[in-house]
């Protein structure tokens, strides 16, 4: 399912003293089965942009097409749109309300008017995707830990079986293990279901590891749009926008400066590790040769 925006503008509270232009001239085409990493300094308009993708916000001007349908049009079925485009908000655990985990996850499918069996099946599936134990189904969501609550909330969106999954900082405030687990599961979903995924994150590491395309927002505009190497090659510009490149990329830069280049295009820890090992290997070999030459 593709998403297309044309000359999209959005202003909060127009005509009041608190008027705020949050999005300016956004032109994007997001194709099927892309994994988009959406980054930008705080207040750059990321959350505002993604709320346009499932019709929660209406553009002040411009167009937005989701799966070929104009979101702005009155006759576009909002319910259907939100089924297709699943949006997980920042701190989604704050939206839990039901007495049991099972009923909370079932809220979305129930709104779609599905049968009991179908709902049950989807709840089990969603719970399984986010790595929660079935034993938790009958518990109150408020008894769970923060990380577990977060998973319940994400499961609540997955249970609607969206074609596009949008996650707004899904790992904020989680421990490293929980973070990796959730992201691994998102990646598995992306690979297994040919979903389109849009991940908003402040972690350049996560973006470098997962995204097939990176979109950089700055002051309500799209500042950069390209593959991971394309975007992270422009480190100086990123820094000017209050962003950065992954830490290992900085490490590689620093090593190059100090006379030990390990190569360009180092964005993930795995890649850095092999590059460094290779370099060390080379050095050893050279030393070995030098030693043999004497």
């Amino acid at each position: 399912m593709s998403i297309e925006t044309r000359a999209l503008h959005y202003t909060y509270m127009p005509g009041s003293p608190f008027e705020k232009q949050a999005l300016t001239d956004i032109n994007l085409t997001i194709r099927d089965n892309e994994f988009i990493g959406l980054i930008g300094h705080t207040g750059s308009g990321k959350s505002t942009l993604i709320q346009h993708f499932n019709g929660l916000l209406h553009p002040s001007s411009g167009e937005i097409l989701v799966g070929g349908l104009d979101v702005n049009k009155k006759e576009t079925d909002k319910q259907e749109l939100r089924r297709q485009v699943g949006l997980v908000f920042q701190y989604p655990e704050h939206q839990l309300f039901e007495e049991t985990v099972e009923r909370d996850v079932a809220f979305g499918p129930k709104n779609l008017g599905l049968s009991e069996e179908e709902i049950h099946e989807r709840v089990l599936e969603a719970i399984h995707y986010v790595g929660l134990d079935e034993a938790l189904l009958k518990k109150s969501p408020f008894e769970l830990s923060g990380g577990q609550k977060r998973r319940v909330a994400i499961a609540g969106v997955l249970a609607m079986r969206p074609k596009v999954l949008i996650l707004d900082e899904p790992t904020a405030g989680l421990d490293p293990a929980g973070r990796d687990e959730i992201l691994t599961q998102v990646r598995a979903l992306y690979l297994a279901h040919k979903m389109t995924v849009i991940l908003v994150s402040h972690s350049m590491e996560d973006i470098a590891k997962l995204a097939t395309r990176v979109i950089v927002m700055h002051k309500g505009r799209v500042a950069m749009d390209g593959t991971v190497p394309e975007v992270f090659a422009r480190a100086a510009e990123l820094r000017q926008m209050g962003l950065d490149v992954p830490q290992v990329t900085r490490l590689a830069e620093e090593m190059a400066k100090r006379g030990m280049p390990i190569g360009d295009g180092i964005y993930t820890v795995e890649r850095a590790k092999s590059a460094i090992l290779m370099q060390l290997g080379l050095l050893k070999n050279q030393k070995g040769k030098e030693g043999a030459g004497k």
Binding site: M13, L56, Q79, R82, Q95, F97, G108, F142, M160
Partner: protein
């Protein structure tokens, strides 16, 4: 819809009125409201309107904002006007009632205009207070005004503190509500469809998280206040002292002058 509520409606600009002691403003507004009820003919209303708009001009808050504040009240205005218009006895306009003994009398017409004007002036005048005084200054003023009664067991400080916390959290809770509504809508919830029962039911997914978050915030706030050694009002000093200055004296004098003109008008004309 939620954004239209302008409760903490303080409008931060520099003006003489903004600099007045909140106590002066509170007391003068109360006196002003009483003075509205002194007006009863064209001349006194003219004096009243002239004073009101003079003060509005002094406040440097756009007049547009004042009239926007009237918007939520047009139903009440219409309702009282209609009641006065049709239910006042006297001489009918056109000589007789036009339908089943219901008609508009001259007396009714004047009363309707008078009451509508009173309500409008009342709202405009009291909005001057809320537009020019920050909620914090307002509660400080109320606390100071109530403090003489503290000896009689009135918890003045606690009341003021509760009020300022409540005012402080209105925008936060509105924001929170909007967020929760959006999050549930993203899961296919529908808040504006169906009959009354369905709509009431649809509120549950909004109200439960809202209450939980309100309690969480209250808890956090209590802990944060304790951590900073808040122990209630006794012996507490404040960063911004409110002081009665020469300007407050002038404000009072101007108000007395206005009262004088108003009463003279009433007696003489």
């Amino acid at each position: 819809m939620l954004k239209d509520i302008t409760l903490g409606q303080y409008f931060p600009v520099e003006s003489l009125l903004h600099r007045l002691d909140p106590r002066t403003k509170i007391i003068l507004v109360i006196c002003y409201i009483v003075s509205i009820f002194l007006a009863n003919d064209v001349y006194t209303y003219l004096v009243l309107a002239a004073f009101t708009f003079g003060v509005i001009a002094l406040s440097k808050v756009p007049v547009k904002l004042y009239f926007r504040g009237l918007k939520p009240l047009w139903l009440i205005l219409l309702f009282t006007a209609a009641i006065n218009l049709f239910l006042t006895s006297g001489t009918y306009i056109g000589g007789r009632p036009f339908l089943w003994g219901i008609g508009i009398t001259w007396e009714g017409l004047f009363l309707a205009i008078k009451m509508a004007l009173r309500l409008i002036l009342l709202i405009l005048g009291s909005s001057v207070l809320t537009y020019t005084t920050s909620p914090i200054a307002l509660t400080d003023g109320i606390e100071k005004l109530l403090s003489p009664f503290a000896r009689m067991g009135l918890p003045a400080h606690e009341l003021a503190m509760m009020m300022s916390i409540a005012i402080r959290f209105i925008p936060t809770l509105i924001e929170e509500t909007e967020k929760i509504v959006k999050a549930q809508e993203a899961r296919g919830a529908c808040f504006d469809h169906g009959n009354v029962v369905r709509r009431a039911k649809a509120l549950v997914p909004m109200l439960v998280p809202l209450f939980i978050s309100a309690f969480r915030r209250a808890d956090d706030l209590a802990v944060a206040m304790e951590a900073r050694c808040y122990r209630g009002g006794t012996g507490r000093t404040r960063m911004k002292q409110i002081r009665f200055s020469a300007m407050d004296l002038y404000a009072c004098l101007v108000f007395v002058a206005y009262l004088g003109v108003l009463i003279t008008c009433k007696v003489v004309v």
